[in-house]
């Protein structure tokens, strides 16, 4: 099968997955709970307000119709109106998404060297003290939940060494420098959590590559250690690394939820939590859908990249 077909097929699978995800999300939020309106308004709602909400949300229509209208809306960009602020959902989402993207990019920049350098050091010094030391450190850090890590970093850099702000509230009026200062702690938290996981995986992948037959053959050809590492080992460790990175992106989507909340950073994640607490249904649905979308796309990119990098598939 040509590479083109493979990529198309993989992309189609992602589309199917997304459709299923939308079905699941819709069912969980609108079908399962029974009477959505009373759920949203709570116990004290009067019958009139309930009726009003029902018509507003179109709850009198049968579920499949509602689902399809909602789905259609997602695709065209019309995600309804927030129940809390009556503003269009897209309007609320846009700046939040922007903030989170910025935060993620920043986190990624920190994460890359934080991952690659220790993993390389570990793989090259396998089973020696450097390797063991890093393993211990990563294990401990891995076991610290992200909200705890965030809180500790807050303690360290805000309370003890007052370098950074405790609250990362930014908006359009903030300057770039303020943005940077606000984002640093959350980005650092995210970066550490991602790096700790990735270092372990990258180390194992590098070691696996270093143990393979063609590496031994390269050494037996009389190639220098540097050449073996750079020309033979590293490129072949690239694909599994991509996999890890995709998984990390996936983590990011979930991780921002907690981290943004800790630092009160006005991003996508804190929007989700807030809308859940306020029971703002349209916003909840839209944000959850977007997080799943990001996850699926991240995996798709990683898989496609793996296909493209595989010489077997490239040449057939």
């Amino acid at each position: 099968m040509t590479i083109f077909k493979l990529v198309i097929r993989r992309s189609l699978m992602s589309v199917v997955t997304l459709l299923l995800v939308s079905l699941i999300i819709f069912s969980m939020l609108e079908v399962l709970p029974g009477d959505v309106a009373s759920r949203i308004l709570g116990r004290d709602a009067t019958p009139e307000t309930l009726e009003q909400l029902r018509t507003e949300l179109g709850l009198d229509k049968p579920a499949p119709v509602r689902y399809l209208t909602w789905l259609g809306g997602l695709v065209t960009g019309d995600m309804g109106q927030s129940l809390v602020s009556s503003r269009p959902v897209e309007e609320i989402l846009a700046p939040r998404i922007f903030n989170t993207v910025l935060l993620s990019a920043y986190a990624f920049l920190i994460y890359l060297p934080l991952t690659i350098i220790p993993a390389l050091l570990q793989a090259l010094n396998r089973d020696r003290s450097v390797d063991h030391a890093f393993s211990v450190v990563t294990l401990v850090l891995l076991s610290v939940p992200d909200f705890l890590l965030a809180t500790i970093l807050l303690l360290a850099f805000v309370v003890m060494l007052p370098l950074l702000p405790a609250i990362s509230l930014v908006d359009q009026s903030s300057s770039a420098w303020e943005y940077l200062r606000a984002m640093t702690l959350p980005a650092l938290t995210l970066a550490i959590v991602m790096a700790v996981y990735a270092v372990r995986m990258l180390r194992d992948n590098l070691i696996e590559v270093l143990d393979s037959d063609y590496i031994r053959m390269a050494e037996l050809k009389g190639l220098s250690r540097r050449r073996v590492l750079l020309r033979h080992a590293l490129p072949n460790a690239l694909v599994p690394t991509l996999n890890v990175t995709a998984l990390n992106l996936a983590y990011l989507v979930g991780g921002v939820v907690v981290v943004e909340k800790v630092f009160s950073y006005p991003g996508f994640g804190s929007l989700l939590v807030d809308s859940l607490q306020l029971r703002d249904l349209p916003v909840i649905e839209a944000t959850v859908m977007i997080s799943a979308f990001v996850y699926v796309v991240a995996n798709l990119i990683a898989d496609v990249a793996a296909i493209l990098l595989n010489p077997r598939l490239r040449t057939g």
């Binding site: 396998r126 089973d127 393979s212 037959d213 063609y214 031994r216 053959m217 390269a218 050494e219 037996l220 050809k221 009389g222 190639l223 220098s224 250690r225 050449r227 020309r231 033979h232 490129p235 072949n236 010489p311 077997r312 040449t315």
Partner: protein, 675 residues
Amino acid sequence: MIDAEPVISVEGLSVSYRQGAGFLRVVEDVSFAVAPGEVFGLVGESGCGKSTIALQMLGYRPPAMRTDAGAIKFEGRDLLDLDRAGLDRVRGARIAFVPQNPTTALNPGIRVGDQIDEILAAHGAGDSRVRVARTLDLFGLVGLPAKLDFLRRYPHQLSGGQQQRVCIAMALACDPAFVVLDEPTTGLDVTTQEQIVALLIDLRARLRMSMLYVTHDLGLLSQIADRVGVMYAGRMVEIAPTAELFTDPKHPYTRGLVGSIPRIEDRSGLPARPLRGLLQRHELPKGCPFAPRCDWATQECFEVRQELEPAGAAREVACWRWPEISVPPDARAVSQAPEIDHAETLLAIDNVSVIYGSGRNAFVALRDISLDIGKGETFALVGESGSGKSTLARAVAGLIAPAEGTIGLSGKPLTGLVRNRTPEERRLIQFVFQNPDASLNPRARIAKALSRPLEFFFGRSSEANVQAALADVRLDGKYAARFPDELSGGERQRVAIARGLVAEPSLLLCDEILSALDVSVQASILALLQRLKIERGIAMLFISHDLAVVRMLADRVCVLFRGDIMEIGRRDEVFSAPFHPYTHSLLEAVPTPLKPHPQRGASVEAAGTPSATGCAYAGRCAWQIGEICETERPPWRETGEGLRIRCHHSLEELTRRATWPNEPPTDTQDRRAMQ
């Protein structure tokens, strides 16, 4: 012994491997030397330490390996003393390595031309133009297309044989003084194996290379090695010139090894009986490691270490009793089973075709196959990988349904898939698989593996049944309580056979059951099968690529190529002229001790897929007539004795062209030489 200064010499080498908390000695005080232009064969069974020695000659020391003692002298230096930089200068340039598995040894992401260019550049072979020219030369030398676009291919675009040629080209790139080959043909097809060996012989003659050729296949060494060193349990037990090793082995182990090789020529009265027992590493005595299995062992053998001592011109033996051992105590060899004629048909395969996939991707695995297996008959199905032999077995077993044709058991047609068959039908056909590791449930004890079929087919099973089943395959009763991972490959395969027999089937399907085993273990299982054949009268569909084994066991033989029958008939007929061209090339390709050099050009490397209409062997046949072979399906030619060959040539023509077997020496001369 050796007149000239040796190219490389190993002195007192001892190597250990880390195992758990301690170390296991895998090479014990090994010494030998290789003369310039000489090919030294290093032979022994799995675990004897030969691959370890091969790697040590390149100074390769993984962290788990520890050199305890010894030196390897090469060009004035001790290789074991060199640091990484020093080794980098020697490897590839002065000593080269040809790996066992070329598919994994080549970096899948780098083009083949670049992988050669890399070694040239690393050892200073000039600028890129010079290197490309040299790469093209090397490719031509090893029989690969010397074209630029071939250089740009990736390893997965080459066949196994071509990949190995690339590895050989890499080894020769910098004109090394010494080449180490670690089982270079083990993973290849029989015919490809023959081609690579022929290439190596040719190169050795042209370039006067010194080589260390490591293999477990003693027969192979007869073609290429000048001297052979035999290893057992990490020690060198005998060194001798090749021909003498085969005609006059002195060490008891060597005798057993030579005796274990199934003979394809019709010979009986071998110099020794095959090996018995197993290497039990935990029970190695202080003295000679072979003592527990040796027919001539005395108390002293168990206690006193044996060292290599001279035993004639250019010969060394590590056994103090060698002068006394001349006549084997009981020279009953693994001989051929007598041919039995079987009248009643048990299994009838009529016009069976099996197709994988559909539409454009349809692959015809079996094309219109018809054959019969008689009651109690051993029917051998021979072919290389891709011939469809496994597919046929799976169709008979009911794992695949034929697209066309019928399979009948004792007259009644068998339903295609096993789940539609009756329990009785399922019981009567039993399958033994190739790989003993995977065919036993690792979490079930042997007793369970054997009792389950009994319960399932007969409703009950007892400990006595299990013990009897084990005894049938000559395993001690204590095996019942063990788990599969406590058994060796040969033992597991016996259990698999016992499991098949326990259901009391009328047909046993054996799919390459010996291929994954060491040669001495093969011999003992072969003997077991021969005995079972006679005792139980059970029919067998025996699939193998190894003609020598087939010769020992089969009543009738069928040769398959790419899904089509090439030749079918009684054993003795198939193994004598006239031959189908493919059968002939297979026979030619079998290395035997008494055939020093194989015929080259017996078959041409295949090109493309076979035509759907012509002969399946067209395009690869060395005796191809021409167009007719591609377009027209050959007719059946039948001899008076019932041998059938599918070929456009006449039987007389085929008989005329046959050059196998080689001129046999006269009987009496040969017998004496073997004593």
